[in-house]
Each structure stands twice: as structure tokens, then as C-alpha cells.
């Protein structure tokens, strides 16, 4: 009997139940979309903040001051360098996958038309094979997203090309395709202007060439001066601050937590561990600001998600109540025929739960679609569906429909069959 009544309600009242299913579907899709985006927004925004470029600077130990303090001239070999062969180790630390990009730099002075100019050798977009078997493309161009560059993209195997800063190009009256003669203390070479760039910083007064060219000119084959690293990091907290002062002050468990979290200080520490004789300095301007913006965005999304969940919950339960009230005649009839309050309540609840679950399943997939639309249009990347959302949404739907039916069920309990059937 129960099953027959249930079935016939589901079949006969298609239109009304369809509205409930639709509302539940919409509410669930909203919840799914917001939750998915919320869980992913941290990673996505973190990736976007990489537009600010490097947040770590690797310099040889001691070099930070030696150069400036003693004002050594470049001919002496007292200044320390990082070995180029060590660079692949950057991609071999515990948090290797969090290293987005890195680029080595070697600076040297050359003469152009009798004027001293700073020449920088770097990787533009170098293809590397890591001993672990991974292959990566990394270099400066990806890290300097704010540069406006004229001309074809510079390649690392382009040993005749040079990227010229805007200010120096104006000074020397250079255009794309012009030749430029560089004299170092030992050599003289001629390069072609491949790009002219505008950075808005000191780089506008510099020349950028492929690393081997600079190494040859400076007579420093296989050496680099510093490395800029752009890493995805977790915003700092008290533990990270404590560790940044002195990692040895942490307790064993604290140390483990710190080491296994992608704090900027632990990434710096791991890099220092793996590469001999370097100091890794966090660039505070990038690291600190990144953390604060990331936290703000996550909090914002979290609050928006909670509020939209509340709104969809209210909307769903509201509709369920409306639906039950509307059926008072039917309920009155059932009661007049001798149905108990419990059996009527069971019937209505089962019916609404079935409909809500059907709507919820449809809504979940619509929500995934919405999340993908948001991910694609805003960040141009896939929003990964999180499994944790499925049970969350399931619980939400059941709770909301049950709670939403409560006021309606209460009204039903006090319904007097005669009144209803009489039409009052």
C-alpha cells in the first residue's frame, strides 16, 4: 500500500514535484559550484600571484657582502659563484613540484661603443632533464610577466641574439635586427638585437643574452651568480615565523610539520640543504604580500560559500513547506480514511526525500559544470572536482529537506480532516 501510494504520487504529481526537484537541483548546483571553487581558489590564486615573479633568491654563501664591502673588481676570482650543474637540484627537493620556475643570472660588464654596459646571461625558456627522470621548461621569460617585449621570443640556443633594455636601446639608437659589438676584457663579439624590452626597472639599462654567451665573455664557464626561484608557498603562520628565526629551536614534531609544509622558509631550508655553499633568501615583498592576499581571498570565498549555502537551504526548505501546505486536502482525506499522523508523515518525507535526492544528483553535475565554467573563464584551467563534496552535499540535501518539511509536518499534525475536506 505504502509503495503504491508513493509511486502514484510520484507519477501523478509530476509537475509539482518537478518544481521541488528543480529547486533542489539549483540549490545543490550552487553549493557544489561554490564548494569546488572554494577548495580550489587557494591554488588558483597562488598560481596567479606568480605574476609577481620570484619569491626566493639563491646567492652563494658570503657573496652577499663580499662584493660590496671590498669592492673587488671582476678580474679577481675571490667572488663566489654557484655551479651551473647544481641548478637541477632545485627541482629535486621535497617540494620540487611547488617550484614553478627558476632562472640563473650571471652579470658582467662589457663595453659598447666605448661605454660600459651591464650584460646579463640567463635562461630564457630552457628545457632541462632532471636526474629523477622529469623534464621541465624553466626560465626568465615566464617569471617576468610584466615586461613588454618587442620582437620574436628569445631562444636559449640563439647565441647570436641579445635582448636590449629600452633605455639603452634609446641611448645607442638600436632597432630590432641591428648589430651590436660587445667588448669584454678578453673577447670581442657581435650580436644581433633580437628584442627590445621595457621593464620599468633597472633592467631597462641592461642587455640580456643566453647564459653561455655571458659565461664566455666573463670567462666563467659553468658558473652563475644568483638564481631566482618562483615557488608556490603556504601562507606563513606562527610556526613558520618561529622556524624562520632558527629551525633548531623547534621540537621534533614541530620540525616535521614545518619541513613537510610548503612554507617559504622550509623550501629555502631544503634548497640550502641540497645545494652546497648557497644562501637562500626569501624576497619578503613577494612572500609576505602573497600570503596576506591569499588568505583574504580564501576567507572571502569561504564566507560567500557559507552564505550561499544558507540561502539555497532556505530556498529549498521554503519550497518544501509550500508544497506540503498545498496538499492539505489530500492529507485531510488520508487522515479521514484513517491514516495515522506517523504514516502520513512517513509518506510525505519519503516522497520528498526521493525527489530531493534525484534533484540533488542532477544538481551536483550542473554544479560541476558551473565550477568548470568559472575555472575556465577566470583562471583558464580545470577546477578539480573534490570527492569530499559528494557526502557534504548529500548530508546537506537530506538535512535541508527534513528540516524544511518540519513546519509543514507540524501544520499537518493539527489538521482536522473535516475542516480541510470542507474547504476551510
Amino acid at each position: 500500500m505504502f509503495r503504491r501510494m508513493l509511486l502514484s504520487v510520484l507519477v501523478r504529481q509530476k509537475k509539482k514535484l518537478f518544481l521541488i526537484a528543480l529547486t533542489v537541483a539549483l540549490g545543490v548546483s550552487l553549493a557544489t559550484a561554490m564548494l569546488n571553487v572554494m577548495f580550489d581558489v587557494g591554488d588558483k590564486v597562488n598560481q596567479e600571484l606568480k605574476a609577481y615573479g620570484a619569491n626566493l633568491n639563491i646567492v652563494p654563501k658570503g657573496a652577499a657582502l663580499v662584493n660590496e664591502l671590498y669592492q673587488l673588481d671582476d678580474k679577481q676570482d675571490a667572488i663566489q659563484y654557484i655551479k651551473q650543474d647544481d641548478l637541477v637540484k632545485i627541482k629535486m627537493i621535497f617540494w620540487a613540484y611547488n617550484i614553478v620556475d627558476f632562472a640563473p643570472y650571471l652579470t658582467t660588464q662589457v663595453m659598447v661603443n666605448g661605454k660600459p654596459v651591464t650584460l646579463v646571461g640567463t635562461w630564457f625558456n630552457k628545457h632541462l632533464t632532471i636526474p629523477t627522470g622529469d623534464e621541465v621548461d624553466t626560465g626568465m621569460l615566464a617569471m617576468k610577466s610584466w615586461w613588454s617585449i618587442e620582437g620574436n621570443t628569445m631562444k636559449d640556443d640563439n647565441l647570436q641574439g641579445v635582448m636590449v633594455g629600452e633605455a639603452i636601446a634609446k641611448q645607442l639608437n638600436l632597432k630590432l635586427g641591428d648589430s651590436i659589438e660587445l667588448t669584454s676584457s678578453t673577447q670581442k663579439i657581435t650580436l644581433t638585437v633580437n628584442n627590445i624590452f621595457h621593464s620599468g626597472g633597472v633592467e631597462d639599462n641592461e642587455l640580456y643574452v643566453s647564459l653561455p654567451v655571458a659565461q664566455n665573455l666573463a670567462n666563467k664557464v659553468g658558473l652563475v651568480e644568483r638564481v631566482e626561484v618562483s615557488a608556490l608557498t603556504t601562507p606563513e603562520n606562527d610556526l613558520a615565523r618561529k622556524a624562520a628565526q632558527d629551525p633548531n629551536s623547534l621540537s621534533r614534531t614541530e620540525w616535521d610539520t614545518w619541513y613537510c609544509t610548503a612554507y617559504i622558509s622550509s623550501i629555502a631550508y631544503q634548497l640550502e640543504e641540497l645545494m652546497p655553499d648557497v644562501r637562500v633568501k626569501a624576497i619578503m615583498q613577494v612572500a609576505e604580500s602573497e600570503g596576506s592576499i591569499l588568505q583574504k581571498t580564501q576567507l572571502l570565498m569561504l564566507l560567500l560559500t557559507i552564505l550561499s549555502l544558507i540561502c539555497s537551504a532556505l530556498a529549498i526548505s521554503n519550497l518544501v513547506t509550500a508544497n506540503v501546505i498545498e496538499r492539505s486536502t489530500e492529507i485531510g482525506l488520508l487522515k479521514a480514511l484513517g491514516a495515522t499522523n506517523t504514516s502520513v508523515a512517513m509518506l510525505i518525507l519519503t516522497e520528498i526525500l526521493i525527489i530531493a535526492l534525484l534533484g540533488g544528483i542532477v544538481g551536483y553535475f550542473i554544479g560541476l559544470g558551473f565550477a568548470q565554467i568559472i575555472g575556465q573563464t577566470v583562471f583558464g584551467s580545470f577546477v578539480e572536482p573534490k570527492m569530499i563534496i559528494v557526502p557534504l552535499v548529500l548530508i546537506m540535501v537530506s538535512l535541508i529537506t527534513l528540516l524544511g518539511s518540519m513546519p509543514a509536518l507540524r501544520i499537518m499534525m493539527f489538521l482536522r480532516p473535516t475542516d480541510v475536506l470542507h474547504g476551510r
Binding site: 529547486t23 539549483l26 660590496e68 610584466w146 539555497s312 530556498a315 509550500a322 498545498e326 501544520i411
Partner: protein, 379 residues
Amino acid sequence: MNKNQRFILKTLFSSLIRRRSRIAIALLGVAIGATVLLGMVTLCYDIPRQMGQEFRSYGANLLLMPANNQSTMPMTEVKKAVDLLPSDKVLGVTPFRYDSIRSNQQPYTIVGTQFDQVSKTSPYWKIEGELPKNPNEIMIGTDIAQFAKLSIGSTMPISGKSKENSRFDEELTITGIVKTGRAEDNFIFIDLNDLETLLEERNQAEVVEISIMATQDELQRYIQTIKEHSNTVEPHLIKWVTQSEASVLGKLSSLLYLVTLVVLILTMICVATTMMTVVMERRKEIGLKKAIGATNKSIAKEFLAEGLILGIIGGVIGVICGLIFAQVISANVFGRSIVVEFYLIPTTIVISAVVTIIACLIPVKRALEVEPALVLRGE
């Protein structure tokens, strides 16, 4: 007022009074819709600006440098240039002055600045200890501290030459150690006035950093204005900061717009379905009215009026809740109160009225198409 109008008013009134629980449900639905509408749109409007303020933690975005190959510029000229900028948007103006000195025969770079402004233009500086407050107090970079084994409280002798070519020797106390990961780690910081006393020069600056809340286009405009009005000061855009800010902020705002759009569409549909259920229930009533001679037009009019009243009342409740909603979020996330665009309030009420009316009229129209006898018989 003729009889007919009185009748409509009476039915309207009694329909609103007698069916309290249904009306409460409908009102709640409309109010939720209006809350979300106003709350989300207000946030959408204000958050890019709030976020813009957060991005100022990346530091200065405008630089003033001396024009015409001069090494310094007078602070009076700088002040004139800064006065051209909207003062409510300028967060900080920090002058810098560089000079080389020696301490224990080793050369260092000493930087004169105004410490109260530094913390505004460069909030990311990690400072151990305190900023110098008194004369003869300095802050040093962390690399110097490590190299020279200096700590907070110790003193550092410095010697140098003033611009008038007289020598100075001072013993300075370290009150703080700064760490930035950049060149600042190798500098000694001192109050600008103290440095100028040593240098025997007044009110000059080599570089002035300005942190100002503005988009890249606005900054370009400010630069143009300063260029037109001043020939001693040359403004520069710090492209590194502005360009990245523009791109990240753009992404964040479009995320917010999309989320708002999705939420709005969904809630509006929810409101409509609730209204439709509430109205659908009244097919019998419509049938009865038609049977006793009401025209389709007069029934439609009645529901229209009912929808309008519900929409407006629900809209007003929603506006109040929506404002609270936006304030709560803004206060929690940014710790600032939100700026409300007042034209949004009537707009929200109008939109909720329109949505309610449309949602009412769809089921009414369908009920009107049916023969009254069929509806009354309950089919």
C-alpha cells in the same frame, strides 16, 4: 472609487491576511532573493577596490626621481608633485637619500628615510626590534648584522664626508634589524633629518617612493599630470608592481562577477519556483472567480497587485538583510566597512517586484487557459 475597484482591493486584502502561512513563505522567498541580490552586487562592486587596497602590501607603485640628470631634488618640489595626487588615495610617501660611509674601515651604504612613512609604503619589511626614533639611532640590514656580528643595542661607529667636505665621525646605536631578501639587507637606515645634519644639507631626496591606490591607467594619468606641472621631478611607474596587480586583480574581480552571476541566476529561479508553487495552489480559486463571471484581465490584475505588494515588502526586508550580509563579509575579510551604492537599493526592490510578478503570472496564465468547470471539479 467604484464598486469593482473596491472589490479587488477587498479580495487582495483578505487574500493577504487570511493565507498567512503561505504569504510568509512567499515573502521569505522574495526576501532571500533580494538579500542575495543586494548583498552580492554590493560586494561585487566594492571588493575589487578593497582588494586593491590589500595589494598595496606589495609596496610602492610610483617613483619620483630627479629630472635633468640631477642627483637630488628639493623636497619642496616633491611636495608640490605629491599635492597633484588625490590625497585620500595616497597611502604613503617615502623619501630616500643614499650615501656611502665607512665603519671600521669597511664601506657601507647608508640610507636616510622617514621611518613612519616606510612602514606605509613597504609594509613587507620584516623588522626585528624597533624603528629608530631618536637621533643617533639606526636600523641595519640583516646581512650587515650577520657579517659584522652586530645585534640590537650594540653601537656602530661611522665616518664619512659631508657635502661641504668636512669629515664627520659618529657612534650610532642599533635599534632594529631589517630583512627583505633584497638590497635593503645590505643597507644602514637612518632618519633622513639626521643624515642631512651629517651631510650638512637640507631637504633633498634622491628617490621618493609613493604608494597610491590606483589602477594602472589612473597612475599613467597622474604621471602625465606631474610631468606637465613639474620639471625638476620625474615620475616613474613601477611596472613590476602595477602590471602584476592589474592582472591578478582582474582575475579576482572576474571570479567574483561570475560567482555573483551564478548565485543570482540560481536564487532568482528559486524565488520564482516558490512563488509558482504558492500560486499554483490557487487554481481552484481562479476557477471559481471565472465561474462567477470575473474576466481574465481582472484576475490577472489582482495577482499582479498581490505580486507587486509581496515583491516590494520582500524587497525591503531583503535590502536590509543584504546590507547586513555585505557588511558582515567586508568586516570579517577586510576589517573595513563596505561602501554602499545607494541606487542599488531601489533597483533591488524593483527587480524583486518584477521577478515576483512574473513568477505569479506564469501559473495564473496557465490556470486561466483552463475551463472553470474542469478546475472546480479538481482535474
